[in-house]
């Protein structure tokens, strides 16, 4: 197999040129009710989220279920329309683009879905699925297209003859590869990988993670890698963004985050992951209770209801994301902890 390719050198975050700049992104889902089904409330799925992603960088987005990771990822690609904020891609604010203009940008930005079963149209063959993107953008017309599809299949570790098969004839891991091939079909610069391995078994998960990493390095892709399992994210990402209840809690280089979490939520998240070593008996920080409702998030810091360091002020002040050390940001008012 190909060894690790050295063709692309990674640039450090934020220092190099920024590919993606998300500013105050916001996505509220209206809740309707009442006599005339007026909007009576909002699910604040993503609330005032800002971050940058450098060209060629792999950034992780973690947080527990329902924290708004998927929503953020899709809003960035405008698969759902954000209700507020801006997404600058290569300097252009894509939230302002028309449908037609957006179509050109779609070539540049792709997504791999969490669920390898729901994200492939069960009525289309693999070649239809992968070829569709090319057809839309008129890439590789005619005979070339088949070759290109075959090439992509090989690249993700499938065989060309799989082209004629339907998704239900593949295992979960294989399906996820098809999803990856589809995303790669248009030669994108940026990929949102939305929990691409969460639905997979550990042994398959490793296969897919390795594949993603290879492709990223080989093609110089910029990746927003969404997950809730810090172990995987840490392994593959340069930087990590931690979200909780629609807000960013902490951003830091992955090694820094792992070694030196500055936010109580990150700390708890890290400690919660079970360590596959029976000899290590770690003291875990158990978060009490469940994630609150995003319709009525707690005032002030949204994490305070489960935070063991919470103080009275936490209920009053919405903590800002501030840089506590170079490249390390946190949204917590307390500096005396951790």
């Amino acid at each position: 197999m190909t060894a690790v390719s050295n063709q692309t050198r990674r640039t450090m975050p934020a220092t190099g040129d920024t590919l993606l700049d998300v500013q105050n992104l916001e996505k509220f889902f209206p809740i309707r009710g009442g006599l005339l089904s007026r909007v009576v409330g909002n699910v604040k799925a993503v609330n005032d989220v800002s971050f940058k992603v450098g060209r060629g960088e792999v950034v992780g987005l973690v947080g527990e279920s329902g924290s708004g990771k998927t929503t953020a990822g899709r809003a960035i690609l405008r698969l759902i329309e954000p209700t507020g904020g801006q997404v600058l891609f290569n300097g252009t604010d894509i939230t302002k683009l028309s449908k037609g203009q957006m179509r050109d940008y779609r070539r540049e930005m792709q997504i791999i879905f969490q669920d390898p079963f729901a994200s492939l149209n069960p009525r289309m063959t693999v070649s239809d699925i992968i070829g569709e993107a090319m057809q839309i953008h008129n890439l590789h017309p005619g005979k070339q297209r088949v070759d290109r599809i075959a090439e992509l299949l090989q690249k993700v570790g499938l065989r060309p003859e799989h082209m004629r098969r339907y998704p239900h004839e593949f295992s979960g891991g294989q399906r996820q590869r098809i999803g990856i091939a589809r995303a790669l079909a248009v030669d994108p610069a940026f990929i949102v990988a939305d929990e691409p391995v969460s639905a997979l078994d550990v042994s398959i998960q490793a296969q897919v993670v390795n594949l993603l990493q290879d492709l990223q390095e080989e093609l110089g892709l910029t990746v927003l890698f969404i997950a809730h399992d810090l172990a995987v994210v840490e392994y593959i990402c340069d930087r990590i963004i931690v979200m909780y209840l629609g807000r960013v809690m902490e951003i830091a280089p992955s090694r820094e985050l792992n070694r030196n979490p500055k936010h109580p939520y990150t700390e708890a998240l890290l400690s919660a992951a079970p360590v596959p070593d029976p000899t290590v008996k770690r003291q875990r920080i158990i978060l009490e209770g469940d994630i609150p409702s995003p319709i009525n998030p707690p005032s002030g810091c949204v994490f305070r209801t489960r935070c063991r360091y919470a103080i009275a002020d936490c209920a009053n002040i919405v903590p800002e994301l501030r840089e506590v050390s170079p490249g390390h940001f946190k949204a917590c008012i307390r500096d005396d902890i951790l």
Partner: protein, 327 residues
């Protein structure tokens, strides 16, 4: 709950409005009117016909007729006068609707009484010989146009009557001496008359519901919580009736509200064939006679009931399914 009902009310206004327009003008579109047959009567002169037209308001423009009708309906709750009965529509159809309801309710009851056990049996013994046999029989019955089935049944009743002398009623809703019976006798008498048409109705349609129940049961039986129940050590009966069935009937419960307009709309051809004094024969006659307000009024009533029925369905579903909240 109250806001829910209010919202429903608001939403139903356009429906009612559209339905009333549709039905009213479709009736008007049909050739001729209520007085057409009178024209063939050798004894009615054109002058008399004109007078009748004036009396019935048929000389006015249809749009004017519609607005008058609407006005009366909205402000006086008056559905208009039936031409052929010369009485308020409501008075005319009320007893008929009541009669239809007895029949529909009984047949619905029987319908469920037949379909539920068979459906459950089919699911529990999926693909067994019994399951398949019952299915084929039900499909066979389903294929009978109800009037055809009724004809055959009537024939057999006649045979039985003449062979045994049993007084099995073949049509109608009451026996001759009905008015001089005690209440209990009256009840039994009506029940006796209802039974056969109700059974025919129930049996000939049972296949549909049986299939739904069977499918629902199968689906629920596959669900995790049934396994949980079994893991607790509950008996097979409890697992099926308490855990599976209760969940399987949720969509059926939701359909119950839809029965309301159905009960009013009558049992269809069966009523005709059995000379049952329900609403169907009356409306068929009214359609033939183009008894404008009778038809339109009846439609308004069923539409209103449909709206109520739908709301009722939602409420019922919320009652039986704790996951659903009305509001």
């Amino acid at each position: 709950m109250i806001p829910f009902l209010l919202r429903r009310l608001v939403q139903s206004v356009p429906t009612l409005f559209l339905a009333s327009i549709l039905i009213f003008f479709v009736i008007q579109l049909a050739p001729g009117d209520f007085l057409t047959p009178a024209k063939l009567n050798p004894n009615i002169s054109p002058e008399a016909l004109a007078a009748l037209e004036r009396n019935f308001g048929l000389d006015r423009h249809p749009i004017e007729q519609y607005f008058l009708w609407m006005k009366n309906m909205l402000f006086n709750f008056d559905l208009g006068l039936s031409f052929s009965y010369q009485q308020p529509v409501m008075d005319v159809i009320k007893p008929r609707i009541a009669n239809s309801m007895y029949l529909v309710l009984l047949s619905t009851l029987l319908f469920y009484a037949i379909a539920i056990p068979i459906g459950v049996f089919g699911a529990v013994r999926q693909n067994s010989l019994g399951d398949k046999t019952i299915n084929v029989i039900l499909y066979f019955l389903l294929g009978f146009p109800s009037f055809f089935l009724a004809l055959i049944v009537i024939y057999f009743i006649l045979q039985v009557r003449s062979a045994t002398g049993l007084d099995i009623p073949i049509n109608g809703m009451t026996s001759n001496g009905f008015d001089s019976m005690t209440p209990v006798q009256k009840f039994l008498d009506i029940a006796k008359h209802l039974l056969i048409p109700a059974i025919i109705l129930a049996v000939s349609d049972a296949a549909g519901l049986t299939r739904v129940i069977r499918g629902q049961m199968l689906e629920v039986m596959r669900s995790d919580y049934i396994r949980t129940a079994r893991a607790k050590g509950v008996s097979e009966r409890t697992a099926i009736w308490k855990h599976t069935f209760r969940n399987a009937i949720l969509p059926i419960v939701a359909g119950i509200g839809g029965l309301l307009p159905g009960a009013v709309a009558g049992a269809g051809f069966i009523e005709v064939v059995f000379a049952y004094p329900g609403i169907t024969p009356m409306i068929l006659d009214a359609l033939n006679a183009q008894d404008l307000y009778l038809i339109a009024g009846f439609t308004v009533i069923t539409t209103v009931l449909l709206v109520i029925g739908n709301a009722l369905s939602d409420i019922l579903l919320a009652v039986v399914d704790p996951r659903i909240k009305v509001g």
